[in-house]
């Protein structure tokens, strides 16, 4: 038995994670991180979500605490999210929250408070290659798999983490919750970015903090063919929401230059690339040579490639990855399943 701090968002996954750890005989304490004080309708730290987490913990007979990491969330997640948009990048705030809040701030606090491990309700697995080296593996429910947002975990972190529901499918999680009488059994999954409300959206959030600038839309020859209201809200690969009048072929955003207030659109072919430059490349257990599989969005397709220097060379031409997005590198190790071996940010 060990002493486990389980991060409870108020959703069904972390509720079941807590219940499973308790069934295994661990001494379990629940914690909900209070990250965001502003408006939120899908987040994991609204008062009603904290109430759900607390009431689930009460029903399981375990202690529950709330940790206010609002300052850190602003510093490491919200601030950079805004700055990235200003710089024309496409951030993934959930990954930054995992990197800086859940798996750094919370894990360090748990250690200071004498916990042996921290558990979360992520759909992912921690696999051991038999020599003590750990990797993040895909969750058993491939449709819910969250290994993509966990790519930053290193050996120290993996050694003190538990993902109790990683081997379960979502229907199994809900069935277990219902059978155990957990009140969040039928609660809808959270979606989207927790600090952005679905009613007012990303544009309204950003416009409260920075000035959004209108821009020109040009074709690849440089001819102006339209306008956008806010160049900071445009992402490479985007097709909807760009008004360029009638165009016979589908056109995509192929470049965004915030400084020049210019969005370039072109045919799908112009979105293709042979390689993607990687920055902040971090390996789970040391550099992996040779071929990898790469995933460039949370539930996106996996494509084959190879890391050469600071680039990922795609085996076949690949749709360009927006700067700021994470590129997660997997290997399909026959024994371990498909596992994360590293991750980086697209330059």
């Amino acid at each position: 038995m060990s002493r486990v701090l389980v991060a409870m968002s108020g959703g069904v996954d972390s509720s079941v994670a807590a219940a499973l750890l308790q069934r295994e005989g661990h001494e379990v304490v629940g914690v909900t991180m209070k990250l965001w004080g502003g408006a939120s309708d899908t987040g994991c730290c609204s008062v009603s979500d904290v109430d759900d987490a607390r009431r689930v913990a009460d029903a399981l007979g375990m202690d529950h605490h709330v940790f206010n990491f609002g300052d850190d969330f602003e510093r490491w997640v919200v601030g950079p999210y805004v700055a990235d948009h200003q710089a024309g990048r496409t951030p993934n705030p959930c990954i930054e929250c995992n990197r800086h809040l859940k798996f750094d701030r919370l894990v360090r606090r748990a250690e200071a408070l004498g916990f042996d491990a921290v558990a979360t309700g992520h759909h992912a697995r921690i696999v051991d290659d038999g020599s003590g080296t750990r990797f993040v593996g895909r969750g058993a429910d491939r449709a819910k798999d969250q290994s993509y947002v966990l790519h930053m975990l290193d050996q120290d972190q993996l050694a003190r983490l538990l993902f109790p529901i990683g081997a379960m499918t979502k229907p199994d999680v809900r069935a277990l919750a219902a059978e155990a009488g957990i009140r969040t059994a039928a609660k809808p999954d959270s979606q989207d970015v927790c600090f952005i409300t679905s009613t007012s959206g990303r544009g309204a959030f950003l416009s409260d903090r920075v000035e959004l600038t209108p821009g020109r839309v040009v074709d690849t020859a440089g001819t102006e063919i339209g306008r956008v209201d806010a160049v900071q809200l445009v992402t490479i690969g985007q097709r909807r929401g760009i008004d360029i009048g009638g165009h016979p072929d589908r056109r995509y955003v192929v470049d965004v230059d915030v400084g020049a207030a210019r969005v370039t659109i072109g045919p799908k072919a112009d979105l293709s690339c042979e390689s993607t430059a990687l920055v902040d490349l971090a390996w789970t257990a040391g550099r992996v040579d040779g071929d990898v599989l790469a995933q460039t969005s949370a539930h996106g397709e996996v494509a084959a490639g190879a890391v050469r220097g600071g680039d990922l060379r795609w085996s076949a031409p690949h749709r360009r990855v927006a700067p700021g997005q994470s590129v997660v590198l997997y290997r399909d190790d026959a024994a371990l399943g498909e596992i994360v071996v590293g991750g980086a940010t697209a330059a």
């Binding site: 909900t32 209070k34 730290c45 904290v50 375990m62 940790f67 206010n68 609002g70 300052d71 200071a112």
Partner: protein, 395 residues
């Protein structure tokens, strides 16, 4: 599951254990005096008598007439009634210090009022306060004792400035945290309105008082049957009111001794913590602030604070983690005010006093009460420094 029975309950500024006298008074108020005090029959008159007896006790304790007592559902309602009641009836500008309890501060902000800064000791900046006053001001609200730091305001001094700069303004004081420790009848003699909350001095939760001196008019915030002379409608909470009066009587009767005994325990606790916790700064104390090894704290002056308040800040330690470790040792305390989710929010009081966010993040409020024992202080002194040391090691 962790044991929940405290070994040291040091969160009396949040709430107190209900006094036996209050419990004893409330049971017959529920079993026998259950009729509606506004009714016409004999049983109603019996309940009415219980409420009016309580009214006499509170009037005596606050130095006002029985007709001045308006029973409310607690301190927040009393504060809201003072601020919104005056603003709706008289309009104008409302002024308060930045360290007020949110029940006053948020109400004043809601009315578009003026918030005045405080000095590093938590006392309203008298120059800025004077500058903020003019004939457009209809209400000034200054708390008697602060809920986080225990700092006491000299209300006579403030009332003199109000009379000089805004002679038409009413003067309200939130005495919720003071009543256990301070003779409010004397200290708030210059106030037109006084807020109290029963559960801060051994009474039950959900009942309080706004004392409104004769001649003061305000708009009721609860409208209905016209109870409390049309100032606060709603059927009287007879058991709560009776319990509050019993607690108030016991508090007044024992106050001098409690202040001496608890004050000595508080001094022992604060001196002991400052002597054993590296970098601990005691909040808002006067006198010498250099702490030589060995715990010689003879020159520290805490006469500006209520006897039950021990408040320290330590850089590099996080209150939330500290409270977690203290709970494991069954020491129950708090840091700043708690938000709706139960998380610790940064203290607006410490921020107003100019305490850095880093220091304020490491704040610990140990608040003693009438029931605090030497054994509780012993236990706190044994485990609090250790918890700080552990967190320091992981910082």
């Amino acid at each position: 599951m962790a044991p929940t029975e405290p070994i040291a309950y040091l969160d009396n500024a949040a709430t107190t254990r209900v006094r036996p006298e209050a419990i004893a008074a409330m049971i017959p108020a529920m079993e026998a005096s259950y009729a509606n005090p506004s009714g016409a029959h004999a049983l109603a008159r019996e309940a009415r008598r219980a409420v009016d007896d309580a009214r006499d006790v509170l009037a005596e304790a606050l130095g006002c007439g029985p007709g001045d007592i308006v029973f409310t559902a607690g301190g927040t309602e009393a504060d809201n009634l003072a601020v919104f009641g005056v603003h709706q009836r008289h309009g104008g500008v409302i002024v308060c210090p930045a360290t007020e309890h949110h029940a006053v501060l948020h109400a004043v902000e809601h009315c578009g009022g003026r918030v005045v800064g405080v000095d590093s000791m938590g006392v309203v900046d008298l120059d800025a306060f004077s500058d903020a006053l003019d004939p457009s001001v209809t209400l000034v609200s200054v708390m008697l004792a602060n809920n986080e730091t225990g700092v006491i305001h000299d209300l006579d001094q403030i009332a003199a400035i109000v009379r000089d700069r805004a002679p038409g303004a009413l003067f309200h004081t939130d005495a919720v945290q003071a009543f256990q420790w301070v003779d409010v009848a004397a200290a708030a003699a210059s106030a037109d309105m006084i807020s109290l909350s029963a559960h801060k001095f051994g009474g039950p939760k959900g009942v309080g008082v706004l004392a409104v001196r004769e001649g003061v008019t305000l708009a009721p915030q609860l409208i209905g049957g016209g109870q409390e002379r049309d100032r606060r409608s709603g059927t009287h909470n007879t058991p709560g009111i009776v319990g509050m009066a019993a607690a108030a009587a016991a508090t007044v009767r024992t106050r001098t001794r409690t202040v001496l005994e608890v004050g000595a325990m508080r001094d022992r606790l604060a001196d002991g913590l400052c002597a054993t916790i590296d970098g601990a700064i005691e909040t808002a104390v006067g006198g010498r602030d250099d702490r030589p090894a060995g715990g010689d704290r003879g020159n520290v002056d805490r006469s500006n604070k209520v006897a039950g308040s021990c408040h320290i800040c330590v850089d590099g330690v996080e209150s939330e983690a500290l409270l977690f470790l203290l709970e494991e040792e069954r020491v129950y305390a708090s840091a700043a005010s708690s938000c709706a989710s139960g998380a610790q929010d940064p203290s607006h009081v410490l921020a107003a006093m100019g305490v850095s966010r880093a220091m304020a993040r490491g704040s610990l409020r140990l608040s003693l009460g009438y029931a605090t024992t030497e054994a509780e202080i012993d236990h706190a002194l044994a485990v609090v420094p250790e918890a700080f040391a552990r967190l320091r090691a992981f910082a």
